[in-house]
């Protein structure tokens, strides 16, 4: 999320108040890393995305173009809606937010993040299904092309992530670990690309990392064996420490995925914020002469972001494997 998109949006925002509007980097940056109801292409061009609202009276669906430009009231089937800070709010006819009605409305829209996630999913499917077909076509031959580029990564997940952390039962968890790794990796990279269809902040969105963390939480605890649960419920400690241990262990169940969720979210969001902040310097100083400095720093941070993209995908996967490994381990060494 660099370069072009921030620039054009800045110009958009500055135009209506052509006079001395104070540039607020915080608002601009947060707006850019947030989820939106339309998918920006370039300039003022955008793809309108479907809005799906689950209200107490039923589903209300319409195109997000109806809510543009910002501040437009749209009268849907059941309520009147308005877009405020990229969120759809129920308003009354006068344009005031209807707090009571808002609580009854669930926003299930296809937002820019959902749309970009689908694009990335299609890309992942195309990449890996063609890779799989290459294996079928070239049975017993050396890998070639895409296959030889991705196979080391797959083998890396298998040999250096799954096997050492999970052990003998690793094979069952390989699909999950591979899918998580490539899903995070691909979307991390797409987030760094500053032009359509990249420039989104999917892995830096707490909802997505929350979803991944919940999946890990469920997988870990549904696969926990006797040892895992015994260690949780009856650890080898004096009986009067048990209540404390229960608190610790049960909070441990949730804190592990929570850490996964926060780490990925914070790392990816932070990268985007730093890049956008550096770009914002140009507008804060309001001079073009700052741009070389900004660009140099942005390039530097982008290089780090590439590393972070790889690293975070790796860390998320290896910690998932570690937690799964702890749950399925047969002979738990008593380290107390």
């Amino acid at each position: 999320m660099v370069g072009t998109i921030p620039l054009q949006s800045f110009s958009q925002e500055n135009k209506p108040a052509a006079t001395e509007t104070k540039f607020e980097p915080k608002d601009v940056i947060l707006e850019h890393i947030a989820d939106k109801h339309e998918w920006h292409l370039w300039g003022k061009a955008y793809i309108p995305l479907p809005v799906i609202l689950y209200t107490d009276k039923g589903f209300d669906t319409f195109s997000s173009a109806k809510l543009q430009p910002a501040g437009t009231n749209y009268k849907g089937q059941y309520y009147t809606y308005q877009l405020q800070n990229n969120k759809i709010k129920v308003v009354d006819d006068a344009g005031k937010i209807d707090v009571a009605a808002n609580k009854k409305v669930w926003d299930l829209s296809i937002t820019s993040n959902v749309a970009s996630m689908w694009v990335s999913m299609i890309a992942l499917l195309v990449i890996f299904l063609s890779m799989a077909s290459a294996y079928k076509k070239r049975v017993g031959k050396a890998p070639k092309g895409l296959q030889s580029f991705l196979e080391p990564l797959v083998l890396f997940i298998r040999d250096d992530v799954a096997l050492p952390n999970i052990g003998a039962k690793y094979a069952r968890f390989m699909p999950l670990l591979l899918t998580i790794f490539f899903f995070i990796l691909f979307n991390n990279f797409m987030g760094i690309i500053p032009v359509f269809p990249g420039a989104y902040n999917l892995t830096g969105n707490i909802a997505v990392t929350f979803m991944l963390a919940i999946i890990i939480l469920l997988v870990v605890n549904f696969n926990g064996n006797k040892n895992y649960w015994k260690h949780l419920v009856l650890p080898d400690v004096p009986f009067w420490i048990l209540p404390i241990m229960w608190v610790v262990e049960i909070s441990g169940i949730f804190s592990k995925p929570l850490a996964l969720m926060i780490r990925l979210f914070a790392n990816m969001t932070a990268g985007h914020i730093v890049v956008l902040s550096l770009i914002s310097l140009i507008f804060i100083f309001n001079t073009l002469w700052v741009s070389p400095v900004s660009v140099v720093f942005v390039v530097f941070i982008d290089a780090i972001e590439v590393l972070v993209a790889l690293l975070q995908a790796y860390i998320f996967t290896i910690l998932s494997a570690l937690f799964i490994g702890m749950a399925v381990e047969e002979h738990h060494p008593e380290v107390i």
Binding site: T111, V114, L124, F128, L129, Y135, V154, T179, I206, A207
Partner: protein, 164 residues
């Protein structure tokens, strides 16, 4: 705060999408890919162990060949040695035989020569005797042709005979 509040809509879509992705990739991508990789690793492993076995076999064969060669060489040496010995034996035998033969022939020759010589001498003696008799006869005849001479000779002879 808005930044760290998961949007329920996005959570739901992300969950559905991710599970679909997981299912499709798991079934149609990861499974065949991992199976193919494992299979290839297996075949590489097999090939490697086969190569190892072949190498060992080769080493064994080479050793065997070397041993055979050594043995063959030793045998050849033994045969050559034997042959030399036999040859020397034959030569020395032949020499010995030749020497014996030669010595015997020489001996024979010598005996023959001796015989011949004795014969010749005997012959010569005979002839000399014959000749002597003939000469004596001739002389006597001559002597006896003349009476006077006979008388002289009788006298002569009688002179020689001393009656004691």
């Amino acid at each position: 705060m808005e930044l760290i509040t998961p949007e329920p809509g996005l959570v739901i879509w992300a969950t559905i999408s991710f599970l679909i992705l997981l299912y499709i990739l798991g079934k149609y991508a990861w499974k065949p890919i991992l199976a193919a990789v494992a299979e290839r690793e297996q075949s590489i492993q097999t090939a490697l162990s086969q190569a190892e076995a072949v190498r060992e076999e080769m080493a064994r064969l080479t050793n065997e060949n070397e041993a055979l060669l050594k043995q063959a060489r030793a045998e050849r040496d033994a045969i050559l040695h034997e042959a030399t010995k036999v040859k020397n034996q034959i030569i020395s035998d032949a020499k010995e035989a030749a020497q014996t033969q030669g010595a015997r022939m020489l001996e024979n020759a010598r005996a023959e020569i001796n015989n011949q010589k004795l014969i010749a001498i005997a012959d010569m003696k005979n002839q000399i005797a014959t000749l002597s008799l003939e000469i004596a006869e001739k002389v006597l005849r001559k002597q006896f042709e003349d009476q006077k001479k006979q008388d002289e000779l009788v006298k002569e002879l009688l002179k020689g005979v001393k009656l004691s």
